[in-house]
Symmetry: C2
Subunit: 196 residues, 2 copies
């Protein structure tokens, strides 16, 4: 084998540029934005869900007959990579995480004269699609200040699963309340057969 | 100059890797997410504002005494790079664009029993901070289906400017209605002196 200075330069340049290329491409890859767990199934509370994709808000929404109306807002967010997948397919990929944030509201304060605006955080819940759970979905409520939450279990989760199975527009998700996604699900024909 | 095969390989590899590196680094740079104009000052309606950073929502908010309450939701979004600057400084950089989206709402439909959820789009407005405008700020209302809008002028914009000057918490923006940003402005001490 020849050992000329030029050969050494070629080898050196190859290594330098290849390393730079790998580093640049790696920096380009966003860190995974899906669910993260402690102890296998305890969901870590996402620190940055307010920077995810906003789905929609409701005010005082209840699914139960006779429940008193409230002035609590609910804001729904989804992790960006799963949103991009949904926009392409109308379906949620494994490792999708939805955050439902609850906020108190106020009125007739500052320049506001009527209607309501959001104030303090009053609760954070999550729904996750992840094959690590028996039926592929799990539900979480974060206690105030808690860094993680165990999946809901017992009669509470039975109710969640029952309602998210029977009454949702796409898979186990209330896409009927997310107007921009509802249009996508219609176009991609991924609304559940029973959904009107 | 020597013209050996190895020299040619070194030159070839340098060009290939350098080109790949430049392409990778360029792909990493997000495209500018600030305001885009037709004819200098007509704001192009941002196609992707629903993927920007969500600030907050209100329902039926009015700033005028005696106005009838409505069931219209308003959702506020800001371009991501300006949001990141605000989180660092509590101030808005030049080329910040806010979109205020209005949506109708419905109730007692699907599984919903009380409270309200958002439905069809009913209006899109924008506020821009851009040194190209005389006082550095401009206001826009997009007509249904319009690709761009001229800056509001005349008595309409006088009212906008007057209210956004006197009643806003940070610069010309209603940060008092964006609870996560209000905390940042407090921490960075960028609330306007007159704001309580």
């Amino acid at each position: 084998m020849m050992r000329t200075p030029l050969r050494r330069i070629a080898v050196f340049l190859t290594i330098v540029y290849a390393a730079a290329l790998v580093a640049a491409l790696r920096a380009q890859q966003p860190a995974s934005d899906g669910p993260r767990y402690a102890n296998g199934t305890n969901l870590m509370r996402p620190a940055d869900y307010r920077e995810w994709i906003y789905l929609s808000s409701g005010m005082g929404m209840t699914y139960k007959d006779g429940a008193a109306g409230s002035t609590t807002f609910s804001n729904a967010f989804v992790n960006p990579s799963s949103y991009r997948a949904f926009m392409q397919t109308g379906q949620w990929p494994d490792k999708t995480i939805f955050v439902l944030e609850f906020r108190n509201s106020d009125s007739e304060k500052f320049i506001n004269r009527s209607g309501r605006f959001q104030t303090e955080l009053s609760g954070v819940e999550a729904e996750v699609k992840d094959a690590r759970f028996p039926d592929g979905w799990a539900y979480f409520q974060f206690k105030s200040g808690a860094a993680s939450a165990a999946p809901l279990a017992g009669s509470t989760v039975t109710e969640c699963i029952d309602c998210h199975t029977k009454n949702t527009a796409v898979e186990h998700t209330f896409v009927q309340f997310y107007p921009t996604l509802l249009d996508v699900a219609r176009a991609k024909k991924t609304l559940k057969p029973g959904f009107r």
